[in-house]
């Protein structure tokens, strides 16, 4: 056990490491290289923030990393003066001198403590990985609500802390897809903040809106009034009425001088002449030229996307602690299962059927308590193989009319139709034994803990409610 130092001191082994209250702070100077690999050995990072460009680089490297040892690391800025949003949302505090570590210590300690709650698994998809990262970051910083910030450098015009940092400007629209998935999975709730229009070609949010010629898209045009001379019905552009001698307007048809607008003439419309192609038109086309890929978008065809403020839900926090492995989309790809939606619908029909007949159907739930631990020991590919394997084995043991779905990556629901409860219970127990055996043979030191329960399907309650009641103990 290390001595707990009560004064701020420089480490004996490394002069860029400061020790205080049992924690080690690694200082990155702005004359350093951009490598940040060493930070995993220390509790927190202090960036000497004289050069904003350099500071942004370092923050991007740390927060954009895929290893929680990097992206969750507490980061403090020293002497920061010029750093503006959105990077300010990715740091955990600022110091004007190293002495101030004392002041900021409690919050750093708190972050480190909360990180200890979290389980990290390898995710089934890139999307799941970013989701895991987001909920872990929000949990560890105790952030309930995350507000996007207007950002000139963002590809979609808004920067989402911890989400946007994972994507290049070009790919940043993916953030919106991830938020959509997180909402569908009920990890977050969202509330409207703003709308943005994105380029159809590259999804960038930076566009220049111009009025252009509908024929050649040039914005090089001159406009003039159309004049209607009432007495003779002559109508034409105002140039027809001009002369070279004076400012009077004379009608080219009847030679009269225009006197009084509204009395002997009016200007019912305008006309534009394109100086690029000579086309004459009344209505401009409004086009949005993408400043990223130069694609000229029709404004009506621009994709409208909503920017939301997001709040983490209870489920989101639980998933951060238990380890988030997969999105339901990933699970849908496992053969032999159906989507949860489909499962719910089929159960609804089963309830209806039971109202008409005397049949007996059952609903079983299997929940792997330490799934985070199990998943964390597997690579993504191995996880997929294992799940496929597991489902195939389960299917061998149950009637073909049974339906299987993943409620979450650790919870499986099985609808066992037209069976007495006793048999359904026995079958479920068989499955538990099978799963335990499968995990124990593959993961030597792991203690398997599978909860399960079987209930007859009631024809008095809705299918959805029966599912809720069955799984509520596990969430």
């Amino acid at each position: 056990m290390k001595n707990v130092n009560t004064e701020i001191s420089t480490s004996k082994e490394n002069d860029r490491v400061i020790e205080y209250a049992g924690l080690s702070f690694y200082i990155i100077y702005n004359t350093d290289s951009l490598k940040t690999d060493d930070i995993v050995f220390y509790d927190a990072v202090i960036i000497q923030a004289g050069d904003p460009e350099f500071t942004r680089h370092i923050i991007t490297r740390i927060r954009g990393h895929f290893n929680p040892e990097h992206y969750l690391k507490p980061v403090l800025l020293l002497n920061q003066s010029s750093l503006k949003d959105p990077y300010i949302n990715l740091i955990d505090g600022t110091l004007y001198s190293l002495e101030q570590i004392k002041l900021i210590l409690p919050s750093v300690q708190n972050i480190l403590l909360r990180i200890k709650d979290l389980t990290f698994t390898s995710s089934l998809s890139y999307e799941a990985l970013i989701i895991q990262k987001t909920i872990s970051f929000m949990y560890s910083r105790n952030i309930d609500k995350m507000k996007p910030n207007v950002d000139f450098n963002s590809g979609i015009g808004y920067n989402y802390p911890i989400l946007s940092v994972n994507f290049s400007r070009k790919e940043e629209h993916q953030v919106l897809n991830i938020i959509k998935t997180m909402t569908e999975e009920k990890l977050i709730t969202k509330e409207f903040h703003d709308s943005v229009y994105l380029c159809n070609n590259c999804t960038s949010g930076y566009m220049s809106y111009r009025e252009v010629c509908p024929k050649c898209n040039s914005s090089n045009a001159v406009s003039q009034d159309i004049v209607h001379h009432f007495p003779c019905s002559y109508v034409g552009p105002i140039e027809d009425f001009k002369n070279q001698i004076d400012d009077e307007l004379n009608c080219p048809k009847c030679n009269k001088t225009l006197r009084h607008i509204g009395v002997d003439y009016d200007k019912p419309s305008i006309v534009n002449d394109c100086l690029s192609c000579g086309h004459r038109y009344q209505d401009f086309n409004v086009k949005a030229k993408c400043m990223n890929c130069q694609f000229d978008n029709e404004v009506e065809e621009l994709k409208k996307s909503t920017i939301n403020v997001i709040s983490i839900t209870k489920k989101g926090q639980v998933m951060a602690v238990n380890g988030y492995v997969t999105t339901s989309r990933d699970l849908q790809e496992i053969k032999g299962t159906v989507k949860l939606d489909t499962f719910t619908t089929m159960l609804k029909y089963e309830v209806e059927r039971l109202k008409q007949t005397d049949g007996k159907s059952n609903l079983a739930v299997l929940h792997l308590k330490n799934s985070g631990e199990a998943y964390s020991k597997m690579t993504t590919d191995l996880q997929k193989t294992m799940l496929n394997f597991l489902i195939q084995d389960i299917r061998k043991n149950i009637p073909t009319s049974s339906i299987i779905t993943f409620y979450s990556s650790s919870t499986i629901l099985i609808s066992l139709n037209d069976l007495p409860l006793k048999i359904a219970k026995r079958l479920t127990q068989d499955i538990v034994d099978l799963m335990t055996a499968l995990i124990e043979t593959n993961f030597k030191d792991m203690v398997v803990s599978i909860d399960h329960s079987v209930k007859p399907v009631s024809n008095k309650l809705s299918g959805e409610l029966q599912i809720q009641q069955l799984v509520k103990d596990y969430f």
Partner: protein, 435 residues
């Protein structure tokens, strides 16, 4: 029963002198002008076609070789719903080198939205909209100002056209270099819709389909329908487009004639139009049209009737024929009726029955004989057979009374200047200048 017996003996007793004394109106008006003269005109037209067949063929070759750009202008208010059908029907034309220009004269429905979308999709070439209505002439002139073609065709949005109509209406310009304007053959599309549309179909068949072949043959054809007319762009430039209406179709025809050009009727350039489907709507339409005879023939262009610098005998005859048969004889009919009442009070019923018989017989002869001269018809002749007797009432009474009222109102009250068909801002100027 005895009246019929009396009537038959009355007919039998009629000698030629007595017949003329009592039925002179029928003889000059219907028999001489609208049967004999028409028949002669039709025969001459046939002969002329045959004699000049090589010239017509050369004209057709010349047109195909030159393939000039034709500008089609369609002015209108709240016509959006017809535009797409019009565009589709034009795309079927045998003549394809045209530009389509739509002018929206202050529509207050979804016309601008429809037209802008058609413009965007390249289905129309130019679209102009005036937010405030300026009247038909100004809308047509706006379109005209931006045309690029060698020939201008003026269309109504709610009409439809035979596939070769554009080609057929342009062709006469290549036949005779002096032709400045060509009128198309307007037929009634909704002839089955109601009694009044059927009667109008018969009327159009006589007055347009036959009547205009004849007047064109005699060189006195005087009205190019707004629904379908073609003009030489250089001539339009010279006469500076349309003047304020109503009746601007007839007006522009006169203007072309006065600048020394011929007007031609193209019977094969067929356009189908929907005519008013109730007597009330028809009366309103005719009231407007008939007023313009007074306004344009007797007022604006009265110089045609007097020997002066630009006097042209053929234009004089064209006007004179129009005034004689429409205006003078229209009023003369009342003298005829009074004459009968005073001098033959006992025989009124017999005379009326005889007139009915004479007009109906004439109607059948014309339907069958003139039908023979038609190259293209939109309805089978037999369809109209039961309606011929009604034409006497339609033509002899209904239209006559509408016309009388129109002439009277225009002659004494200049009613056309108050017609809401034109925006007030333009009407006040027309009235002030006597246009």
């Amino acid at each position: 029963m005895s009246t019929i017996g009396e009537f038959i003996s009355y007919i039998q007793a009629l000698g030629p002198a007595k017949f003329l004394r009592v039925f002179w109106f029928f003889v000059i008006f219907e028999f001489f002008r609208y049967f004999l003269l028409d028949l002669v005109g039709l025969i001459l037209h046939r002969v002329s076609l045959w004699v000049n067949r090589k010239k017509w063929k050369r004209a057709s070759e010349q047109l195909k070789k030159e393939n000039p750009l034709v500008s089609i202008i369609v002015p209108g208010k709240n016509e959006g719903k017809h535009i797409f059908k019009l565009v589709k029907s034009l795309s079927e034309q045998t003549y394809q080198n045209y530009e389509l220009i739509i002018i929206d004269d202050g529509s207050d429905d979804n016309t601008p939205i429809i037209c802008k979308s058609l413009l965007k999709n390249g289905l129309i070439d130019q679209f102009y909209r005036n937010d405030v209505r300026g009247g038909k002439a100004s809308a047509a002139n706006l379109g005209l100002r931006f045309t690029k073609g060698k020939f201008i065709i003026h269309l109504d949005a709610d009409c439809s056209y035979d596939n070769d109509a554009v080609e057929k209406i342009i062709l006469p310009f290549y036949y005779d270099k002096d032709i400045g304007g060509v009128g198309g053959n307007v037929m009634v599309r909704n002839y089955k819709e109601s009694l009044v549309t059927t009667l109008q179909a018969v009327e159009y068949f006589n007055s347009v389909g036959i009547g205009r072949i004849v007047t064109s043959q005699f060189g006195i054809y005087r009205i190019i329908s707004g629904a379908f007319g073609a003009f030489r762009a250089d001539v339009m430039d010279k006469i500076q487009g349309w003047d304020i209406g109503p009746g601007l179709d007839g007006d522009i025809t006169v203007k072309i004639r006065k600048s020394g050009y011929k007007i031609h009727f193209a019977p094969e350039a067929v356009c189908l139009t929907s005519v008013p489907n109730t007597f009330k709507k028809l009366a309103k339409q005719r009231y407007r049209w008939d007023k313009s005879l007074i306004r344009f023939r007797l007022r604006k262009h009265k110089d045609v009737l007097f020997p002066n610098q630009g006097f042209s005998l053929i234009n004089f005859i064209s006007f004179f024929e129009n005034i004689l048969y429409n205006l003078i004889l229209n009023f003369k009919w009342y003298f005829y009726a009074i004459d009968l009442v005073i001098n033959f009070p006992d025989l009124l019923v017999h005379i009326m029955l005889t007139n009915l018989f004479l007009y109906t017989t004439m109607g059948y002869i014309k339907l069958i004989l003139f039908g023979w001269f038609r190259t293209r018809s939109n309805a089978p002749n037999y369809y109209f057979l039961p309606y011929i007797p009604l034409m006497v009432i339609y033509f002899g009474y209904f239209l006559r009374f509408v016309r009388t009222r129109a002439y009277f109102m225009e002659l004494f009250f200049k009613a056309s200047y108050n017609d809401p068909w034109n925006p007030l801002k333009t009407s006040v100027h027309a009235k002030e200048k006597g246009l």
